[in-house]
């Protein structure tokens, strides 16, 4: 299996968040795009006087072709989490006051089925990877996945109500 790892993008936010809503929005985002989503870990640490600490890891993947697969890894690190009640439109709602560090990393996996076993197959796979599919990989797969991740990035920023939500690259892919 060969990996093309893409750079990590990070969002750090401190404030009041509808974390349930964010969680559901991101979950639905992956399902709408036909990704298989697995929650790899959910860590809940003993609360301190400052609040709770939580770590959540998601792994989402999608087959592009028989040779290439997209994998997106999301890591939530929540610190000083406290439950609070806010009044919105006359209704009381539960929210979390927290500091959140969200990292989204992604990679394109090639020959993910590990079907190459014999030396001849390895030579042919090398030719495929280094020459015939090089252009597809550089121009199509990595670029496509990169901008898919940024669409998710923008949706998260919009949900959190951050200032920097403009996305002139939304029409790219």
């Amino acid at each position: 299996m060969r990996l093309e790892k893409l750079p990590v993008s990070r969002i750090r936010y401190a404030g009041i968040v509808d974390f349930d809503g964010l969680y559901r929005m991101m979950h639905q985002w992956f399902l709408d795009r036909s990704y298989y989503l697995e929650e790899q870990s959910w860590k809940y640490k003993i609360p301190t006087p400052l609040g709770k600490h939580m770590e959540i890891e998601w792994d989402a993947w999608k087959k592009v072709t028989e040779y290439a697969l997209y994998r997106i890894h999301v890591y939530f690190y929540l610190m000083d989490v406290k439950e609070i009640e806010v009044v919105r439109d006359g209704k009381k709602e539960k929210r979390l006051k927290l500091k959140m560090n969200l990292e989204i990393s992604s990679q394109v996996e090639m020959e993910y089925q590990n079907r190459v076993t014999t030396p001849l197959q390895k030579v042919l796979d090398d030719v495929l990877y280094k020459t015939l599919l090089r252009r597809d990989m550089d121009i199509f797969w990595t670029d496509h996945l990169w901008y898919i991740v940024f669409k998710l990035h923008t949706e998260i920023k919009k949900f959190l109500g951050m200032e920097t939500t403009a996305d002139p690259y939304r029409a790219v892919w």
């Binding site: 750090r12 401190a14 901008y147 200032e163 920097t164 939500t165 403009a166 002139p168 690259y169």
Partner: protein, 183 residues
């Protein structure tokens, strides 16, 4: 590892006054998109402080010029004490932000970013010889283009911020500072 040549080193822009965070960010991203740069946002940090919002951004878009060379521009933006104020523009009330913006621009020219010419000592030697003696006219031209790009972006951002300074007058919210912006 790719060879990096620093073309722009810590070029600063500081501004204090009225501006629109969303529009400023959109303007910068749109400029990069039009120039053919790929988007990269390394860090985006936002928090609310007692004196206003604090926003920290690190953008690092890149543009592949050839399969051997690419441009990388890094912008670190820190916006402090950002508050929403109402202003009057052409007789209409609009809501913009007021605060301090600091930007640091760096740009570098990267060669052999795919690390093809490092696997063997002979390749590394050939690459160094070519970079030092044969590709010099091309690399100097590329560096000049990169510098021109960064200067154009800097000028656009300055113009954008100046537009807010001279076009708008706050009608509510905190008073605008009296000192001139530092450029």
């Amino acid at each position: 590892m790719a060879e990096r040549t620093l073309v722009v080193d810590h070029m600063r822009l500081m501004y204090e006054g009225l501006f629109d965070v969303e529009e400023l960010y959109a303007m910068i991203q749109e400029w990069f998109r039009e120039k053919g740069y790929d988007k990269r946002e390394d860090k985006n940090y936002e928090t609310v402080t007692p004196t206003g919002k604090y926003v920290e951004l690190v953008l690092e878009p890149w543009k592949k010029i050839t399969d051997y060379a690419k441009f990388v521009v890094k912008i670190r933006m820190v916006m402090e004490d950002v508050k929403k104020v109402d202003i009057e523009r052409e007789g209409l009330k609009v809501t913009v932000n007021q605060g301090k913006v600091s930007m640091i621009f760096d740009a570098w020219f990267e060669t052999d970013y795919e690390n093809r010419w490092e696997s063997k000592p002979e390749f590394f030697f050939i690459r160094t010889m070519f970079d030092r003696f044969i590709f010099v006219p091309y690399t100097e031209r590329f560096k000049a283009r990169l510098l021109e790009d960064v200067n154009q972006l800097y000028g656009n951002i300055k113009g954008f911020l100046n537009l807010y300074r001279y076009e708008s007058e706050a009608v509510s919210g905190p008073p605008t500072p009296t000192q001139f912006p530092k450029f």
